[in-house]
């Protein structure tokens, strides 16, 4: 029995080795060697010495925080509404549907919507407001990124709301709690695991967004993601790019640890 089960593990182990372990090892090796192939800390030193790099790091963090905050602000009420709807499956499907479309296509669609002659500006004009620069602004970047991340926040929150025992909510009401007290003292703490999972699913990818920063943010927002792309594709300094990649991975691990919290079900 034991041999048999370990036999079936082989493809997964191969996969992990080839596509998870190897890239990380290669990335780390690249990050800690200089252009001559010598092991050195040049890249790390350069990164820490360069004010622009640190600024990018803070930027990435800040925008990921904004995007996550906005996504949560939209997604929690949405999940709450869906969890109390009659046709939950249909509404969930509508939320998930946009994830079936390629990210690049969705981003291009927003260029069409937000451009000088786009739908949004046309609508503004209809109400007598002069066309404004919407595309290539920081706000546009945050809004579009949040839009794209919403399904990944809604699903885990919806799951935890759905799993919430209706009797517990009824018990809170029965004990005299009003709607707000019921939410704040019972529903919110009990759905926190879902919120945490959603925050992880949104915050971590948001750290390294680069397609949206380029196409919607118009290079106004430089994050670690754009920096990596720059080093790999433009300046061709793979070692420096790898170093930023390693730093990004470290940040992700830290975020993961910080948001996991201790499990409540002992």
């Amino acid at each position: 029995m034991k041999n048999k089960s370990s036999f079936f593990l082989i493809p997964y182990l191969m996969w992990l080795l080839l596509f998870v372990a190897m890239p990380i090892i290669l990335l780390t090796v690249n990050a800690f060697t200089d252009t001559q192939g010598q092991i050195s800390l040049t890249n790390l030193r350069a990164f820490l010495a360069n004010g622009a790099c640190l600024k990018m790091m803070v930027n990435s963090f800040w925008y990921a925080l904004l995007i996550t905050g906005l996504t949560l602000l939209v997604s929690y009420p949405l999940a709450l509404v869906i969890a109390n709807c009659r046709h939950q499956r249909l509404w969930l499907l509508l939320v998930i549907l946009p994830t079936w479309i390629n990210l690049l296509l969705k981003t291009y669609a927003f260029i069409g919507l937000l451009g000088q002659h786009g739908l949004v500006n046309q609508a503004l004009q209809f109400f007598g407001v002069a066309p404004r620069q919407l595309l290539f602004t920081k706000a546009a970047f945050v809004v579009v990124a949040a839009y794209i991340e919403i399904p990944f926040m809604v699903l885990p929150i919806y799951d935890s709301l759905h799993a919430l025992d209706k009797q517990i909510v009824a018990a809170a009401r029965d004990l005299g709690a009003n709607a707000w007290q019921t939410f704040w003292r019972v529903i919110w703490p009990l759905t926190l695991p879902g919120v945490r999972a959603g925050v992880q699913a949104v915050f971590i990818p948001s750290l390294s967004l680069f397609i949206i920063t380029r196409l919607i943010g118009g290079n106004k927002v430089i994050t670690l993601g754009t920096a990596i792309e720059e080093y790999f594709l433009t300046t061709m300094n793979w070692h420096m790019g790898s170093m930023i990649g390693v730093i990004l991975i470290v940040i992700m691990v830290l975020v993961l640890l910080a948001t996991s919290g201790k499990e409540q079900n002992r």
Binding site: Q167, I168, A170, A172, D174, L175, L190, N265
Partner: protein
């Protein structure tokens, strides 16, 4: 004054299903009431309507004479102990019990005092810091009771609250619930499908079936004088057969005529006859009213459960403390052991008939 009153309460769902048909109940303060019925009988629906989790389609619910039909659950002066306790898993025992006081912004030292008092009432002193998930079923049950009682409700609603416990614990909790109720003098409304539980604990029982109130009364009244076949079968074991009235105080069934204690039914009318198994005794064939052959005997510790067949082919269930004396025995019962039920007679008609001929006797 009645503490709770339901007037012509009907609950119909959008899909056309009617959970309750024209229910009228009045509950006096300080009593222990049970809503008893099989699953789907509407007993939990009544509880939910009283608690405020659901609204009736028609009719009104009164609390001390005041209409509370549309008052939200959070503002009703009553509390519920839920079927699966519905304790807050993210709070410890103390905070669970304190919940109702905290949302009402009671001062912290006041809360502490009240919670401690509740913990000792349900015999959980020193459990305040425990997580509710560490507790056993019986302990969780007690936390749920304490959480409800700390708010000083005028009425405590209990929804099948003992059904998740094992038999022995259930007996203990029945006793404790009853003593808590006596101690505090609060009205308890207890929903159950367990007839023994209802009989053991209640001052008054409401028997429900198919969303209709079948009968209400003290446990002994319901057991001794069920109004119809449903109540007779649902509460206790019974021997039921059809027969007809000969005249007042005489009924015929199984091709024999017997003296009975019922009257006010016109001669020749089709009736149902009920004999409780413990009202039957086995004697010498010559002394019995009916002769039966013993089919099986089961010793159940405190009594024997005996099945016997009479010459007409009817199977009798008999509970006795002694073994059957022979294979063929006589079956004896007193005239007042025979309970005659009219077909389709409602509770009010039954009460009316009973009072009529009881007056005649005097």
């Amino acid at each position: 004054m009645n503490i709770i009153e339901l007037r012509h309460v009907t609950r119909r769902y959008p899909d056309g299903f009617t959970a309750l048909h024209d229910i009228n109940l009045s509950l006096e303060p300080g009593k222990f009431y049970s809503l008893l019925g099989p699953s789907g009988s509407g007993k939990t629906t009544i509880l939910r309507l009283i608690a405020g989790f659901d609204q009736p389609t028609a009719g009104e619910i009164l609390f001390k004479g005041r209409d509370i039909t549309n008052l939200p659950a959070s503002r009703r002066p009553l509390n519920t102990v839920f079927q699966n306790y519905a304790l807050f898993p993210h709070l410890n025992v103390f905070d669970n019990i304190a919940f109702g006081l905290k949302v009402k912004k009671v001062a912290p030292d006041e809360i502490k005092k009240k919670v401690e008092r509740m913990l000792s009432l349900v015999r959980l002193e020193g459990f305040g810091k425990r997580s509710v998930q560490e507790l056993s079923g019986g302990q969780q049950q007690r936390v749920a009771i304490a959480r409800a009682l700390v708010n000083h409700p005028k009425v405590l609603l209990l929804d099948e609250s003992l059904s998740a416990l094992d038999k022995k614990l259930r007996k203990t909790m029945q006793f404790e619930l009853r003593s808590i109720q006596k101690q505090l003098g609060i009205t308890f409304i207890f929903v159950t499908h367990d007839q023994e539980e209802a009989l053991a604990m209640s001052d008054e029982i409401f028997v429900l079936n198919d969303g209709r109130l079948q009968q209400s009364g003290s446990p002994s009244a319901i057991y001794d004088e069920p109004v119809n076949e449903f109540v007779a079968r649902f509460i206790g074991d019974s021997n039921l057969m059809s027969g007809h009235m000969i005249r007042d105080f005489e009924v015929e069934f199984g091709n024999h005529r017997f003296e009975c204690a019922d009257a006010g039914i016109k001669p020749g009318e089709q009736v149902q006859v009920l004999l409780r198994p413990e009202d039957l005794s086995l004697v010498e064939p010559a002394q019995g009213k009916i002769v039966v052959d013993i089919l099986s005997q089961l010793f159940l510790g405190d009594h024997y459960e005996i099945w016997a067949k009479d010459d007409g082919g009817f199977n009798w269930l008999i509970h006795t403390v002694e073994k059957a004396p022979a294979e063929r025995c006589g079956l004896h019962f007193a005239p007042d052991a025979i309970h005659v039920m009219r077909l389709g007679e409602s509770e009010s008609e039954f009460d009316q008939r009973l009072s009529q001929y009881e007056e005649h006797e005097k």
